[in-house]
Symmetry: C2
Subunit: 188 residues, 2 copies
């Protein structure tokens, strides 16, 4: 499997009523997802938002872990956060990857609600071996990625179905990221 990147998208996102919105970056999404992606050998984590003030907010958080105090107290945290990149859009993130590796990444979308999808994590692993290109694994926030994103990817992953007898299926995005990381790269 070639270089893998992860993206957490805050725009364009759908809210509860189906409107297109921009969600806020949260501190835990920064930390938990960086630690999962880093543990599973991803090469970078893009936090996607067009809101410049949120870029500054994330920079402040990252700076804390890069100071003498933060770094001394928890150097592993600094290590996980050092591979975070801010991106104004998903297109920009893909462009950064393409410039770095000389190939556009395979765009993979995740969603809890896909009725149609292109395959399982195992299928995707096979595809990545054959295509031999970088990949960007895309997660939404709020009530999920806008259709303009999911309709313009190369691969839509099978949702995580869980095992609740009554069909309850409401993982946090942080939990979904961890599970997909493990399914895609857990036995590498």
């Amino acid at each position: 499997m070639k270089n893998c990147y992860l993206a957490l998208v805050h725009h364009p996102i759908v809210n509860k009523r189906g409107d297109t919105v921009t969600t806020s970056v949260t501190n835990l999404d920064i930390h938990d997802i960086a630690r999962s992606a880093r543990t599973y050998g991803f090469d970078g984590y893009f936090i996607v938002t067009p809101v410049e003030k949120q870029h500054a907010l994330v920079k402040n958080i990252l700076d804390h872990w890069n100071t003498d105090y933060g770094n001394e107290y928890n150097p592993d945290r600094k290590d996980a956060l050092s591979f975070i990149n801010m991106a104004n859009s998903l297109e920009y993130a893909c462009k950064v990857i393409e410039e770095k590796h000389g190939q556009a990444p395979i765009k993979v979308a995740t969603a809890a609600g896909f009725k149609d999808f292109d395959g399982t994590c195992e299928d995707l692993r096979g595809k990545l071996e054959v295509d031999n290109r970088p990949m960007i694994l895309i997660f939404g926030t709020g009530w999920g990625l806008h259709a303009s994103v999911t309709e313009n990817v190369d691969f839509r992953l099978e949702p995580i179905f869980g095992a609740a007898k009554d069909g309850y299926n409401h993982l946090s995005v942080r939990s979904a990221v961890a599970i997909y990381c493990d399914r895609l790269r857990g036995s590498l």
Copy 2:
């Protein structure tokens, strides 16, 4: 697999220096872990702390999602949180399970740092089929479960190793819970 329970332990916990401490309950640990456990068909989630004020804090948070506003805004959240139980100790949690099901649960400990362990998730699934008893899956906070816990369980699970080439392995407890839920019950 019989009835499965999850426990998040805040005492006795080890801190960075190896001291025995009591950690604080955090809002995200309540929510993310409840949603993972509920999605994967667990029967209950015990938040273990001897600090009575923390019991009241959790109750306040749960009450919010049970009010008209919280319930109307996000009924799925209420649903996930409704199976949370507070416990003063792990022993108390096990006693509750035993009283409910007429059998003491198999105690399973998780840790990122186990050098010796009793088997993988697949091994544990096999054991649970044979033993046909309830299970409690135990997670630590802070720098991990105190030895007095891990030395007194029936099964110590293989750590999650990830796939980082440099061996980086620092998942949040919320991510570790999600991954173990998926490995243990993802294909049920």
